[in-house]
């Protein structure tokens, strides 16, 4: 299984993402934002965390218009798998591939800590390695993780089983405690917590492993 990790100026979780993906068995290609096309036969695109383009204008806004992102959008529209973590989630909402927007945390503070999450949907490759209702612990590190979506949009996500994770204790003001959302075809996941920072005991937890493992298992059997 082949994954492309997209790197923007200001990405800072790209190598952690690559390490986590390789550990799960993926073949990893790092792709610079100026590339016009993804490598051939990519199964998954991972958009890592960081501060792409210095968070100028809005978090993820400039990255979403970069050459490589047009190729990522085309990949997604062909039914390809995409994972966006933290800034990657912000990029995905800015491209319109995922609904809603991420704004400044409700208490205006940059948050860097472990949080408990409830697995709300196991109906995606990314969440297939977890149990429905399972509580897992992953680190968050963000200033703009306050997920905004109107009530109608939230209801649509609920009805379509597209809320992947919710916070057990809402750290940032997100609507309906939402920490991660899926696309309608369940092949795109965006989440603020960092699964790639919880894949080795030395990280302080390994609850992120199941995301990468579940993903490669499902992709391999598809």
């Amino acid at each position: 299984m082949k994954v492309a990790v997209v790197v923007f100026p200001g990405s800072n979780c790209d190598r952690d993402m690559a390490v986590a993906l390789r550990a799960a068995g993926f073949e990893v290609a790092m792709v610079w934002h100026k590339e016009a096309r993804l490598p051939e036969r990519i199964d998954l695109v991972a958009i890592p965390g960081g501060f792409s383009f210095g968070d100028y204008l809005r978090c993820g806004a400039i990255a979403a218009k970069s050459p490589i992102c047009q190729s990522v959008i085309a990949h997604a529209q062909r039914g390809g798998f995409v994972l966006g973590v933290c800034n990657g989630f912000q990029v995905l909402t800015e491209t319109g591939l995922l609904p809603g927007a991420l704004i400044r945390n409700s208490h205006l503070k940059f948050l860097c800590k472990d949080v408990d999450l409830k697995v709300q949907s196991t109906a995606s490759s990314f969440t297939s390695g977890y149990q429905q209702g399972q509580v897992i612990s992953l680190p968050i590190a963000h200033h703009d993780g306050n997920y905004r979506l109107d009530a109608e949009g939230v209801k649509r996500l609920q009805d379509q089983d597209r809320i992947a994770f919710t916070y057990q204790t809402n750290p940032n003001g997100s609507a309906s405690d939402i920490a991660g959302v899926l696309s309608e075809n369940k092949r795109i996941l965006g989440l603020m917590p960092h699964p790639e920072r919880a894949v080795e005991p030395a990280h302080g937890g390994i609850d992120g492993q199941a995301m990468f493992q579940g993903c490669i298992n499902q992709l391999a059997s598809a």
Binding site: A61, K65, T93, P99, A101, I103, H107, L108, R148
Partner: protein, 73 residues
């Protein structure tokens, strides 16, 4: 500007700070941004059309933000 109804944590903090400074009667603060663009010579209507397109494609996130375009000579 953030659309009406979209939570504005920064605006709320500014409102609170104004209250602390003794400015009474501030019912709400909404924070936005102003982007100045200097364009090559063109008709006003064309400029307005171009900047509106820029807002839709990049300058504003219309999921949560509204925008107004003002053309100054």
């Amino acid at each position: 500007m953030l659309k009406a109804g979209v939570l504005d944590p920064q605006g709320d903090a500014v409102q609170h700070a104004l209250g602390t400074l003794g400015f009474d009667g501030v019912v709400q603060v909404r924070q936005g941004k102003v982007i100045d663009l200097e364009l090559a010579d063109m008709e006003e209507a064309a400029a307005k059309g171009a900047v509106t397109d820029m807002c839709e494609k990049l300058l504003a996130n219309t999921v949560i933000e509204s925008y107004t375009v003002e053309i100054l000579p």
